[in-house]
Symmetry: C2
Subunit: 140 residues, 2 copies
DNA sequence: CAAAAACTTGACTATTTTAGTCGGGTATAT
DNA sequence: ATATACCCGACTAAAATAGTCAAGTTTTTG
């Protein structure tokens, strides 16, 4: 039950941008230094974020990336989907024909996994990037 | 964001037992046939379920496994833990010393991942095996 | 214009995890 | 006795993951 590091770093990098950008583009080099993430790896991640319209890029000197939406509007779910991190915890259910374990009938636990996925999905759907920043140093 | 098949099959097999046992032991062979799970694989899974006191075994002819708790009492979380399926979606946090990304300070997204884990954990904690059986054919 | 900063992109690879099998046991009811 | 069913460690093929590399292109600034 793990999230891949790409998704994790993506959220981390975007949170960094939300904190440090003041309308200016934020370079991957800066994010890399601040968050301790490999620059090469960040490049790969931002490629996907760009393709999925989470950020836009500015080339050349003083270039970098800019959030397309405000942190208040940006759902965490959108970030995960951009990194191909689907919330589908279990294989059974692809299509409705031969759904579970190769059989044509729904398996005994089918609805339970559906519920689980829905539960997790809702969490990511309701959380916005701005929510991460609030409690940065709050709590205990 | 996937559950491994061992956990999935474990839940499935235990649900099967809950449905088909009438105080008698349920053999893995029967579960294998009914649920379409490899017998050899089931053996591996039940070894862990036994070690973690989810089931007890009866050897010899007419042997099999018996649920230790009633389906109403058996938390799904206990099943997952028995299969080493920890709900810890992200690497940062092992110990409190050098927690995130090798750094000594909590990463910017740390609390968020904690919340996520808590959210998922609660789900598994509150769901009992008996809950899976109720809505087997219910809903839509 | 030249050079440097920074984005662009596909391919590649080592490591780890996963899913599942195999073989050779042991216990027990009939 | 023997068949059934649990017991258990070791093994392996395949897939996923994490991350690197190479070779660009674009744009700003001096």
């Amino acid at each position: 039950m793990k999230l891949n590091t790409k998704s994790r770093y993506a959220v981390m990098a975007l949170a960094d941008m939300a904190v440090f950008s003041r309308d200016n583009a934020v370079s991957l080099r800066d994010i890399s230094l601040r968050q301790g993430i490999s620059l090469l790896y960040l490049e790969q991640i931002f490629l996907k974020l760009k393709k999925n319209n989470i950020v836009k890029s500015v080339r050349g000197i003083n270039g970098g990336y800019i959030l397309i939406k405000t942190p208040k509007e940006l759902k965490i779910l959108d970030i995960l989907l951009a990194l191909d991190q689907k919330v589908k915890t279990v294989g059974c259910k692809k299509d409705s024909k031969k759904s579970c374990n190769g059989k044509s009938t729904k398996c005994i636990t089918h609805n339970f996994w559906d519920e689980l996925d829905f539960h997790i999905n809702s969490f990511f759907e309701n959380k916005k990037l701005s929510d991460l920043l609030k409690n940065k140093e709050a709590r205990h």
